[in-house]
């Protein structure tokens, strides 16, 4: 039996969903464990929202097995929905509904104290505000409050920071971090990779309805972007000598120079060898900098590849995407 640490809250196997003859989710497997913040990431159109809508029972899958908190999302919708807290992408509240009234409307017998939650998310002063008068950040925080109101066992957040300015985004992030630290199980859907990197313990990257790769953000970065970029200014003579000495160092892949500057790309270990070489020469530059890739630079190309319609039900399909996936999952790009 599963132990409590890795108890499956959501299990999806072989999920397929099409709209008309267009396959949008194509054999997707997904697990969300109790107490984790799982990021479902991918470019717009990857099929993320469709996937979570199947998990919420808002859409009926064409095939595949879904278990959410022990329920079949479509058949057991009435039993499941009170256990979910959902913030939907592209869903508003009535313009003239006030914050306090929204709490009243959605609160069941099990609900938290609405004012406590409003206070926690900085909305207590806005209790009388109509939905239409709220800023984007306030609205999203209200949706978070509503998602948490009835003590859900799983919180689903779909593009929570869409359309927010940077300050509002940070506010909302802080709110999600509170959830994470409280041990709430969260499925966070986002196309913004910096958001996933900040908030998620584990991410599942999808493209064209399939899983490309998954794991903790740091693992994905080292898998897909294992390099480091070292830069410094070099105005002394003998730059060619320097380049010749750097090139054979362990882990160094590319050494490039523009007038007055040197750039070295290599493995993370190569940082130490390059540093040692500079120390040995007694010429450590003032402006030495090292850039390590973040999740965005690691996965951007992977996720943003053109969203070619996936041909369905032929071996052609596997032949087309299979090797690509392999190459990308390997250590080097």
């Amino acid at each position: 039996m599963a132990n409590t640490d890795t108890e499956a809250v959501v299990t999806v196997r072989g999920l397929h969903k099409r709209y008309g003859d267009r396959t949008v989710v194509n054999g997707l497997d997904l697990d969300v464990h109790a107490g984790e913040v799982l990021g479902l990431i991918g470019a717009n159109g990857a099929g993320k929202t469709t996937t979570v809508e199947c998990i919420q029972g808002l859409r009926r899958p064409d095939s595949g097995v879904l278990r959410v908190l022990g329920c079949d999302p479509v058949r057991d919708a009435e039993r499941l929905r009170p256990m979910l807290g959902s913030q939907l992408q592209d869903s508003a509240l009535p313009d003239r509904l006030r914050v306090g009234e929204a709490i009243e409307l959605f609160a069941t017998d099990r609900a938290h104290n609405g004012d406590d939650l409003l206070a926690q998310f900085g909305l207590i002063e806005r209790r009388k505000a109509a939905f239409a008068s709220m800023s984007g950040g306030e609205r999203q925080r209200l949706f978070l409050v509503l998602a948490l109101l009835n003590r859900p066992r799983l919180v689903i957040l779909d593009e929570l920071t869409q359309g927010l300015d940077p300050a509002a985004r940070r506010d909302v992030w802080a709110a999600v971090a509170q959830l994470r630290d409280a041990g709430t199980t969260v499925l966070l859907v986002t196309h913004e990779l910096d958001e996933a990197e900040v908030l998620c313990g584990r991410v599942v990257a999808m493209r064209s309805g399939r899983v490309l790769d998954q794991g903790p953000p740091a693992d994905l970065i080292s898998r897909h972007a294992p390099w480091a970029m070292i830069r410094f200014a070099w105005s002394r003579p003998g730059v060619d000598d320097l380049l010749a000495d750097l090139r054979p160092l362990p882990g160094v892949q590319v050494v490039a120079t523009t007038p007055g500057r040197v750039e070295v790309r290599g493995t993370r270990q190569s940082i130490a060898y390059v540093g040692a070489e500079l120390v040995k020469r007694g010429a450590v530059p003032d402006d030495l900098s090292v850039e390590l890739p973040d999740l965005e630079s690691a996965l951007l190309h992977l996720l943003d590849e053109p969203d070619t319609p996936v041909e369905f039900g032929r071996s052609r399909n596997i032949a087309k995407t299979g090797p690509t996936d392999h190459a990308l999952a390997g250590a080097n790009r």
Partner: protein, 249 residues
């Protein structure tokens, strides 16, 4: 129906009630428009009994006709726009994912539609009373039956239109297109006696005319149109069944 779901319906009704009476479209179109037009038209033909008005006081004729203007404004304009805008903006999905059963929303709409009609109708009569007087009701039960069945029928038509029309704008356009001919030919316009035969034929065909006739005739004591009342009952049953089926998952 568990206790949870029942209280869901109560919470929805309370919220929808508040929102309805904050909605400028409802305030202007359902509450004010019928009153203003009744005051204008009701005062246009004097108060002397007139053969064009089946031998009754024209002002009273209009007072007895205007409750259905409220019914039409609610069913053809307010409800479709309200529902279509909820769907367009994802409010319905939010209700669904929050675990509100579909029927609780349908019940809430039915209740709100009926309550709106009652409130707007009472207001209309309160304004009419000092100005034109309220004509004596000859056959209370027939009037109540016609009004109740007509209200249920038009509220269901409203729900149906709201589920069919893709956006609030579309609902408003279609709603107004249905409302004005119904209003002019079936309730608040010229009496059937003065219409040409073509207009008269169109008027006889309009559901709102059936509702108006089934209320006005027994109210003013100028007829007991049982056939029309049956038509209104059939309308109510058919519209409600179709609306319930459409809005079921």
């Amino acid at each position: 129906m568990s206790a949870l779901s029942t209280s869901t319906a109560t919470r929805l009704i309370r919220t929808e009630f508040r929102l309805t009476f904050r909605d400028p479209l409802v305030l202007t179109f359902v509450l004010v428009f019928p009153i203003v037009t009744m005051l204008i038209i009701g005062g246009s033909f004097g108060t002397t009994p007139d053969p064009s008005f089946e031998g009754v006081n024209p002002s009273h004729w209009y007072v007895a006709s205007y409750l259905t203007v409220v019914v039409a404004a609610t069913g053809l304009v307010m409800m479709p726009v309200h529902l279509a805008s909820y769907r367009e903006r994802g409010v319905l999905r939010r209700f669904a994912v929050a675990g509100f059963p579909r029927w609780s929303f349908a019940i809430a709409q039915l209740v709100i539609g009926i309550v709106t009609i009652v409130v707007a109708g009472v207001l209309l009569l309160l304004v009419a009373a000092p100005v034109y007087g309220i004509p004596a009701v000859h056959d209370v039960w027939r009037v109540v039956a016609g009004l109740t069945l007509g209200a249920i029928g038009f509220v269901s038509i409203g729900v149906l239109l709201g589920t069919l029309l893709p956006s609030a704008r579309a609902a408003q356009a279609v709603g107004l297109l249905l409302f004005f001919p119904s209003f002019l030919l079936g309730a608040g316009g010229p009496p059937p006696q003065v219409m040409g035969s073509a207009l008269r034929a169109v008027s006889d065909f309009l559901p709102l005319t059936w509702v108006t006739t089934s209320i006005r005739q027994p109210w003013l004591g100028i007829g007991t149109p049982t056939g029309t009342l049956v038509e209104v009952a059939a309308l109510a049953v058919v519209a409600t069944v179709v609306a319930v089926r459409r809005s079921a998952l």
